[in-house]
Symmetry: C2
Subunit: 217 residues, 2 copies
DNA sequence: TTATTATTTTAGGTTAGTCTAAAATAATTA
DNA sequence: TAATTATTTTAGACTAACCTAAAATAATAA
């Protein structure tokens, strides 16, 4: 049985490993807000337990065993987020922190029963796919709002699960499955004016890079 | 912010303090399955944090501050138990262990929203009263099945939350609010034959002491 | 290719929460 | 009341998970 810390490390390594291929000590340290020496230490332990493969001074990568655990925790996290929104009416910017703690203490039994209560959902409230019980995750077609051009009409399929971003999107009155059109796009900084419903909004590239969309019409 | 351990100690001390007036090191050690020296150690810390008052070699007692925390955790525990039964359909003998871990990680926000989802319940699945948010607990009239006599008809109002006992009661087809009549009672060991529905059951004093009832008719 | 800079690891330390063995104290029995 | 027994505390140790400061290594720039 792993600890909360182990689980958080593996989960973060999984997340970071989605873009980069090998994950550095400092990337983990930054993500977990833990000092690099501490991370270095923990890496050795994770390596000894065969959760990761590891080349000193180079980086880290999940083993099958490590990935299995990471995906299990991610599954729990996302199921919990769905529950928190659907049953407890938490706003979407708060579910993450709550799930972050609960994910470590629920049993397999709880996980299964919750899954059933929720009707076996496939996505979490931010559009992230929920891994299956045997560790399969849908690989999403990712198209960032920032990559689109003036005139494009799109629907929001996923957003980065970051509290300030979610609050911002909410203030614009937007959310998953909302459609919007791009009215202007500055070439030098990528900022846009988008039209959603009857309102125009200014969004920086910072924001548009973290809103994932699919084209409509 | 207290840790899981602190919370478990305070909760156990509260429970033990309900009968005895002052709680001993060994009682805590036994309940928590931790060695006496460890408990002795922790007692010093709890004392320094002013969660308990304490006389060496004699015993321990919650302060107002300690009791407040204990009741908060008990409140969470019992609310969670209700949720686990009502929404996740856990059997009543399994909810305790699950709640035991969850109680330490939910936020105030979660607690409030859960309370509302459940319709502000007053009792947990074992008949124990749920403390209010400001730390009030109903003091139950306790009448043990073991104290009653042949001919008495009673309704079950509360049972001790212990897995083997709950399984046993369940196997007899009994539960909270079920009525039963006492058919025989041995004076030398207190064992009884009770009639519930169309069936007779043999219950030892061990069991009848842990079933709380109220007389009917 | 050497020097500087950035990253990572090692060394040494801390805190919380546990343990076993031994000493201190209190309670019980003779 | 003295001796024995039971309980509690102290002493000394361990593990997990963190930290800062310093050393080692790798990457980059001169
Ligand atoms: Mn977490
Ligand atoms: Mn999410
Ligand atoms: Mn607990
Ligand atoms: Mn209960």
């Amino acid at each position: 049985m792993q600890t909360k810390s182990t689980e958080d490390y593996l989960k973060i390594i999984y997340g970071l490993g989605e873009d980069r291929d090998t994950v550095t000590t400092s990337a983990i340290a930054e993500e977990l807000r833990i000092s690099s020496p501490s991370v270095s230490d923990m890496i050795k332990k994770l390596y000894e337990s065969q959760y990761i493969s590891y080349t000193p001074y180079y980086g880290v990568r999940l083993t099958k065993k490590g990935e299995r655990i990471a995906l299990k925790i991610i599954r729990r996290h996302r199921l919990l987020e769905v529950f928190l929104m659907k049953f407890l009416n938490f706003p979407w910017e708060l579910v993450h922190d709550e799930a972050e703690r609960l994910e470590h203490v629920i049993s397999d039994e709880f996980e299964d029963r919750l899954d059933a209560l929720l009707g076996w959902p496939q996505y979490d409230p931010h559009g992230d796919p929920i891994p299956t019980k045997d560790g399969l995750v849908e690989k999403l077609e990712v198209l960032r709002l920032s990559d689109l051009e003036v005139g494009d009409r799109v629907s929001i399929t996923k957003v980065t699960d970051s509290r300030p971003l979610l609050e911002f999107i909410k203030r614009m009155g937007l959310g998953l499955n909302h459609t919007l059109a791009i009215k202007t796009k500055e070439s030098f900084d990528g900022s846009m004016v988008i039209r959603a419903g009857r309102k125009d909004h200014f969004v920086s590239r910072e924001v548009s890079q973290n809103i994932y969309v699919r084209k409509v019409n």
